[in-house]
Point group: C2
Chain length 123, copies 2
């Protein structure tokens, strides 16, 4: 059983690319988001800012299809291996949300944009 | 600047293998742990259970040498790419803490042990 007690009902869910292993994003799930992810096969998070369920891709269409689910030794964190629909997971146009790299004490963009978010999110 | 406000002073830090990209573990850093990680080049977390700084490998010797540091678009999560000293990061003897896989609704060990934790942690 997953341990939802350590972060007030949430577990961190690391989303990785099933093909390459690359970390794409991190979200949080409560028990309801976890149940919905399992029943639909698409990643659903709990949005801490909007206080509601948030199925990744519900606006852009770029859903995260679940291929494999892992948990760690404490069963308080998830790794969800996915096929990411569309060119990129990050709403700013990048394949991964982790596009910022620390370089000599400064955060620098280290990846190239793979799509134009204005085209996806204005639909 | 990293955003430490969303989880009461903590940011999740995903540790990945710099060579393969595999997710090895997830810990949390407060500002002090973050500063110590930067100054030493070894990953230091804030232990939520022990309420103190926790340098991974301080007991086992299996430190996590930092090779690259990434953050995401919200700057509230870290990905730390490391060279992991020793055979495995997980204190239960596995390369990655994410050794449990969901299989037909049951958590099953999906990886092989790479070392005997009794030998490492009894020193």
């Amino acid at each position: 059983m997953l341990d939802f007690t350590k972060l007030n009902g949430l577990v961190p869910a690391i989303v990785t690319d099933a093909a390459t292993g690359r970390v794409l994003m991190l979200g949080f799930m409560n028990e309801e988001a976890w149940a919905k992810s399992l029943s639909t096969g698409d990643v659903t998070f709990w949005s801490r800012s909007r206080n509601k369920l948030w199925t990744k891709g519900e606006t852009s269409g770029n859903k995260l299809r679940i291929r494999e689910i892992r948990t760690d030794c404490d069963q308080d964190t998830l790794e969800i291996r996915v096929d990411a629909i569309g060119p990129g997971v990050c709403h700013e146009g990048y394949q991964s949300c982790f596009s910022w790299k620390l370089d000599q004490g400064q955060w620098q963009r280290a990846d190239e944009r793979v799509y134009d978010p204005a085209e996806v999110y204005s639909k």
